[in-house]
Symmetry: C2
């Protein structure tokens, strides 16, 4: 299989890819610079031209928008971080892949046709060495990754004269304390480092992945690349259909952001969907298989316990987490404690060897307004807090997943309890959806909840698309979901006062007031849609739009007022 390489080559309009260099490490951090047109007005008959400063924007699109790099989907992105990892001298390149299943797939010539064309030797920590970002941070080491994210977080501040509290040393402290993570598997060197923590820019995760009923590999790769283009900060591959292993390889090799998965999905496919046949050994082999492919964080529903199953009956919508329902079913079928819980130390030891972060799954998240903030949810949250401390003992980085469906007045309790139960590990929520009655619009029902909880301190919000509850999202649904969540995240950044976050709003508003239409489109989260909507009105490019027409444009009248008021005062 070859995938057409026409996914993205037109860059963002009016923008340039620029790089800012590190001071500690020999690194270059990519950013998008939006160049603006001049402000022009007539004063005393003369044409006065005042340039507008460019706006720097956090850029998740990677090499796809760098005109100097020829990206080929069939050979993958440049392996940016490989040299950093190797130079630290604490990893080893394995001669063969460790996972039994991984080897079976590799040796199966029947799937050669759909396989990613290139292969790499997996890296792993040397015997007796620790290699996680948390380990380095606790040792007082500022890694290249840490400096990278510090520069990146300050995208808005660069050259704009804004000072920021975010320094490489501040990043190190936050990682050391567990308040933030840098998901960066040594086997995913294509990913540009990014940080998730409540003292940083709010991040957006997007979910893609096929199911048994729909979608092929090239479609999923296309969704992945476009998701990054529209601004997704991390990407979860939730594939549950055929060829999970091969789909994931294509996605990881072409994704410039951290990739997460839920390994139990693939483990279940390996036993043909029969929950009762799942075993710790199959799961363990799946973890290693994915660690060596380069997955950056795993959702692990280790907080779902046998004794919590009885609480499901009290709910209106039972368990709505796929991982949660699988593990609960396993527990009740075998009448045994979850193997994810009983083997959690062993899981951490595996993850630590590749620096894979754990995202502790909320198997008991509420699936309806009715079930929000109930006993099963909060009992599980306490277990997640206990597991957080276990993972930290292994220097494994941790984030905590949260709901789900929560009415607005119950959102704050989620944030407060998470902070106290989980020792300030970063919170990562799915929405929450604030009402159940709007299928087809759940990107909006949930953007409301996501903006609220992010403004209270949630570090990353997982998008919901308009297809939620109805079907698998297509590319346009991914777009609607990502943009709705970029809005929620940015609204929260403004509320939290993230350094420089208001500069883009100010630039947009100034362009609006001065009728610099092109600058408005270029500054927009979705330039293409804004431009198309404007064009529907007939493509006027003057001092008004179709909304108000010439006589009713308040902004034009405002400008008259300032002039006239000045004349009055001058009299």
């Amino acid at each position: 299989m070859k995938i057409e390489n026409n996914i993205i080559k037109d860059s963002y309009p009016g923008s340039e890819k620029v790089y800012i260099e590190g001071e500690i490490h020999p690194i270059r951090v990519g950013m998008r610079r939006i160049n603006l047109t001049d402000t022009v007005h007539i004063e005393d008959g003369k044409r006065v031209v005042i340039p507008n400063q460019s706006v720097y924007v956090y850029d998740t699109s990677g090499a796809f928008t760098d005109p100097d790099i020829q990206v080929n989907i069939n050979s993958g992105l440049p392996r940016l971080r490989e040299a950093w990892t190797v130079q630290r001298g604490d990893v080893v390149a394995l001669d063969d892949i460790t996972s039994e299943y991984g080897r079976i797939r590799r040796n199966d010539t029947a799937i050669d046709a759909i396989r990613f064309p290139k292969s790499y030797k997996p890296y792993k920590a040397q015997e007796g060495k620790e290699i996680t970002q948390m380990y380095y941070a606790r040792k007082g080491i500022v890694t290249a990754e840490m400096e990278y994210v510090a520069i990146r977080e300050n995208a808005m501040c660069h050259l704009m004269g804004i000072t920021s509290h975010i320094t490489p040393e501040f990043v190190r402290e936050e990682i050391a304390s567990g308040r933030a993570i840098i998901p960066a598997n040594i086997n995913h060197p294509e990913a540009e480092p990014m940080i998730i923590g409540r003292n940083f820019r709010v991040k957006v995760n997007t979910n893609i992945g096929n199911s048994a009923l729909s979608s092929g590999i090239s479609e999923e790769v296309e969704k992945a690349v476009w998701s990054c283009h529209w601004g997704g900060d991390t990407l979860m591959d939730l594939s549950t259909g055929e060829h999970i292993h091969e789909t994931r390889e294509w996605i990881i090799r072409n994704t410039p952001v951290p990739v997460g998965t839920v390994p139990i999905y693939q483990a279940l496919e390996k036993v043909n969907g029969k929950v009762e046949n799942l075993t710790w050994e199959i799961y363990r082999d799946t973890l290693i298989e994915q660690c060596e492919q380069g997955v950056d964080y795993f959702t692990i529903h280790a907080g779902v316990l046998r004794e919590h199953a009885r609480l499901v009956e009290n709910r209106l919508t039972g368990i709505v987490s796929r991982g949660g329902s699988i593990m609960t079913k396993w527990c009740v079928v075998h009448n045994e404690e979850s193997f994810l819980y009983t083997h959690f130390d062993e899981i951490c030891k595996i993850l630590a060897q590749y620096d894979v972060a754990v995202s502790l799954g909320d198997g008991m998240r509420p699936g309806s307004i009715h079930d929000a903030n109930d006993q099963s949810q909060f009992l599980e949250l306490d277990v997640l807090g206990e597991l957080t401390q276990k993972a930290w003992q292994h220097n494994v980085q941790v984030i905590i997943e949260g709901p789900g469906h929560v009415p607005m007045h119950k959102i704050e309790e989620n944030m407060k309890r998470q902070l106290s139960s989980c020792h300030e590990a970063p919170f990562y929520t799915l929405g929450p959806i604030t009402t159940d009655i709007a299928p087809g619009y759940d990107h909006i029902t949930s953007a409301i909840g996501a903006a609220c909880i992010a403004s209270m301190g949630t570090a990353m919000i997982c998008y919901v698309t308009p297809k939620e509850h109805l079907g698998l999202p297509n590319r346009e649904d991914v777009r609607d979901g990502v943009i709705a969540y970029k809005i929620a995240a940015h609204a929260a950044d403004l509320a939290k006062g993230h350094p420089g976050s208001q500069l883009r709003d100010n630039a947009m508003s100034k362009a609006r007031y001065e009728f610099r239409w092109k600058d408005q489109f270029n500054l927009a989260l979705d330039p293409e849609r804004a431009l198309n909507f404007y064009k529907e009105g007939g493509d006027y490019d003057g001092n008004f739009c179709t909304m108000c027409g010439p006589n009713f444009c308040a902004m034009r009248l405002s400008q008259d007022i300032v002039k006239c008021d000045k004349k009055n005062n001058d009299k």
Copy 2:
């Protein structure tokens, strides 16, 4: 002109129009009853059928969805409230219309072709009589309108066994205190009474209207009717183009919800867009013209003062309210105080004769994140508070308009200041938009702010469509705007604990858990879109959808768990 009568005749799917009768007055309040299918499951080999209770929903669609009424756009809706008004014995039917301009238009045969075919004599208070809902309420009288809204507010509670604090007497008290209004011009008897106040269901206003550059009468009427169908509670006709008078007549005669306008727009058209030529006399005649057509509430920017003009210079985006910029320009051109402010008592006397409510416009609302909560905004709010008390002296009902563009952390201050400055008169906000950087998606940037401020006590939220800042909305934009705001309003109702509001969410979630797909679509805010999205996945109607496929459906697994756990416990 004849408008095709095919606008809406298919009712909501799975629903019936039902009426609940009054106990004090001989009234019938229309509601939508969503009938659900049965829950069916197999227990010990037997088929067990459990019926699901119907869900009653607040219905804004009027006679359009009553199969027993044949609505004809060319003759208008039934004149529901005319008898109530006449029976009170305090109004008079005028032999001729009072407004000079209104008579000129009527006598102009050149516009016969586009005129609404029917005409009615206008009603007015008898000399010396007071007829506003506020007057009656203060006299201790529970009007038919008050009983109507009490029944209507409890839509969800009827026959569901839920008790509500909202009684006709409670409504009367809220109206008497000024905390709520019933906008109900005696010349718009087609409108079904509704209440705006923070102790009631959060309401959604929609804006339609053409501009000089776009859209004709039939298109505007179509938008109006569809807006009500999708759930708009009130409708503002913001037309600024030609034939404002005739467009409004068509809209009012066919709209079952209160209609608002901004009379200064038409006044400005009368002086060919030349702000400096506006006079109190032209404005006064416009008010009377519109009072006698049946406009239920006027936005009047009487809080914009001459001395505030100097503050505009401190802003990034000046004045973004059309009415605010017109009046400020008038003040600075003439170097005089606003005639809306100086003639406010006279305005109230006119409005009181028809029971038109005043919506005190926020001419200084911020148009950017940068300008939020600034001095001009809050100085004007204090003036609005002063005008509120003046209006109440005339028993004129008042609501207060609010912003605009406000970042999330500054929203609460708006609500608190409005309550204290404006003596608890209902707040009615435009959004607020929580970030400036997403043109094309401002229904979402603002639904976030609207949900937040409504959950804090804002009584009505004015929708924003995806076309905001870019052009005039078309019918699909109206749909996207209304649904986004129905979501925000309902999320706030849940947060505020409006009686019975969660019943629809619960019914939806139960249908979801039981895979009753049709019930899910019928219960949705937009059944058509939900159904179409589902069908895209291939129209499966089984125990899963394309999102997860058969093996990964958490809800199906949940049901297995409950059964299996029961068996374990039975052992």
